[in-house]
Amino acid sequence: MSVTHDEVRRIAQLAELDVSEEALPLLAEQMSRILEYVAQINAVPASEGVKPFVPGPDAVRFRADEVKPWPLAFGPAELAPAFRDGFFLVPKLGQFEDAEA
């Protein structure tokens, strides 16, 4: 299992984490070692029928891992005047401070 520098960059982007170019080689090497170590579980022929174990009260269980839109009671446009790329657009903090001055 060898993790490439590009894979580290892609994962870091998904994790919203800055990783410097200088840190990439060591990080890629250490991630490769960790993933190689944990991949040993694939040597066990666990049947598909094995249900995941989650401790705690029966009422607390994982829901199905499905990607689906989570409906809002109101659309974003009704909650705020501007919404783009999943973010509400608001004035910069400095602009508020200027307005108060």
């Binding site: 919203e16 250490q30 960790i34």
Partner: protein, 462 residues
């Protein structure tokens, strides 16, 4: 203790003792603030409480109103929680005094307390060695005699491992026995608040107080507080299993000798001891290091510079704010685990890693059920494969560091209670033996621990 002047004296004495062991870097709370708070707490404490006047230190990832909660991380530097963790609120209601916040590996991720943004803690008997982790500050303070007990937290052995390395008692309760409300989340299906104490009795008293139902945590079972058992005269009627997988050929011979002596003493106390097998043990560390980072990558998504703690420069837009803050605010081990967690959950790898690890977890839990169903009450194992190791020895080798948890992660994966009790010394360094119990049968586990503690010459070379 029920006299306010005694509680005040206890508070002042605890502050003095914590000052004396300052060199250990075990307590993160500035001493002036700690002293002032302890005196105020002693004046306000309930004299009728069962822990009245008892100083209890608290790991830095458990929320307290009194002191900052930084989780050993730069990303939460100076953060003050607006509420007490339920465990802390229960301690206060019982009259205990919160004796500062203890150093830990960042967000509980580590086995040496070297991964703290506030510097490593020192082993109380040998400053060149680590006290274990992640609750290393709590273990070091208790071992140095500064406090009789401290709260720690466990995700994969972070109470029992430092307890073993420092020569104190460490209890990890059943998952759901103690509320997680106010425990900063790392791996939610594994995390539990635990207790480190100078004796089984001290640790058990604190556990009894913090246990029990809590409407603020849906994963906390609807049960009464743990009732403390009596110290038994013998262990007649107990069946103790010794899992062969925890005694591999290459186990440190001195650890094996200490365990053999403890097993002999358990037999002499009247317990029936038999060898058992937990066949999936070999895969426990690998399973753990998929599930825990996966859960951590999700739980730690909230630290982005917008909601908690400081934000770091380079924030020309919101994404850049997140990335810079997280990149600079998290230390190397947390960054590694967040990346590994994101990797194993990402599209294309989910089935090979996370789904498979969940199946392995089920098989590991089933191993324990099989043994307990065959009449075994408790299991005895070493807590750690070696005594305290040198600082820096495993810092650049994450997998070697992860293997420090080899005998502890299984109880977290299976949600079972476990306790580490000192069972001897190896070249002067303490080593612990572990009893693993059945879910919610901490009372049986504590009975055996009381008996073992009284019988074993913990201060003698193995």
């Amino acid at each position: 203790m029920s006299d306010p002047s005694e509680a005040l004296a206890s508070a002042k004495a605890a502050a003095d003792r914590i000052v004396k062991v300052k060199r250990l870097n075990a307590c993160l709370t500035p001493i002036k603030e700690l002293r002032k708070s302890l005196v105020a707490q002693a004046s306000a404490a309930h004299p009728s409480g069962v822990l009245y006047g008892m100083p209890v230190a608290v790991k830095d990832n458990i929320c307290t109103l009194e002191f900052t909660t930084s989780c050993g991380s730069k990303i939460l530097e100076g953060y003050r929680s607006p509420y007490d963790a339920t465990a802390v609120a229960k301690l206060k209601a019982a009259g205990a005094l919160i004796a500062g916040k203890t150093n830990c590996d960042e967000f509980g991720m580590g086995s040496s307390t070297e991964h703290s943004a506030y510097g490593r803690s020192l082993h109380p008997f040998d400053k060149t060695r680590v006290p274990g982790g992640s609750s290393g500050g709590s273990a070091a303070l208790v071992a140095a005699g500064a406090v009789p007990a401290a709260l720690g937290s466990e995700t994969g052995g972070s109470v029992r491992q430092p307890a073993s390395l420092c020569g104190v008692v460490g209890i990890k309760p059943t998952y759901g026995r103690v509320s997680r409300s106010g425990l900063v989340a790392f791996g939610s299906s594994l995390d539990q608040i635990g207790v480190l104490g100078r004796s089984v009795h001290d640790a058990a008293r604190v556990l009894s107080v913090i246990s029990g139902r809590d409407a603020r945590d849906a994963t906390c079972e609807d049960r009464d507080s743990l009732r403390l058992p009596n110290v038994p005269e013998s262990l007649q009627g107990f069946v103790i299993g010794v899992p062969k997988e925890y005694f591999p050929q290459d186990l440190d011979p001195a650890v094996r000798r200490a365990c053999d002596r403890a097993i002999r003493l358990l037999r002499e106390l009247g317990a029936a001891v038999r060898e058992v097998s937990l066949p999936h043990t070999a895969y426990a560390v690998a399973t753990y290091y998929i599930i825990a980072p996966a859960e951590a990558s999700s739980n730690l998504a909230r630290y982005d510079g917008a909601r908690y703690g400081p934000r770091f420069n380079g924030s020309e837009d919101v994404r850049s704010l997140y990335r810079t803050t997280r990149g600079e605010g998290f230390g190397p081990e947390v960054r590694r685990r967040v990346l590994v967690g994101t990797y194993v959950l990402s599209s294309g790898y989910y089935d090979a890693y996370y789904r498979k690890a969940q199946q392995m977890r089920a098989l590991i839990a089933q191993d324990f059920r099989n043994v307990f169903d065959r009449g075994v009450d408790l299991l005895f194992t070493p807590t750690t494969p070696t005594p305290a190791f040198k600082a820096g020895e495993k810092l650049n080798d994450p997998v070697a560091m992860y293997l420090s948890d080899i005998f502890t992660v299984t109880a977290n994966l299976a949600g079972l209670p476990a306790i580490s009790v000192p069972i001897g010394r190896i070249k002067g360094l303490p080593i612990g033996g572990q009893l693993i119990g059945q879910a919610f049968l901490e009372d049986e586990m504590l009975e055996a621990a009381y008996a073992l503690e009284r019988a074993v010459p913990a201060g003698e070379e193995a």
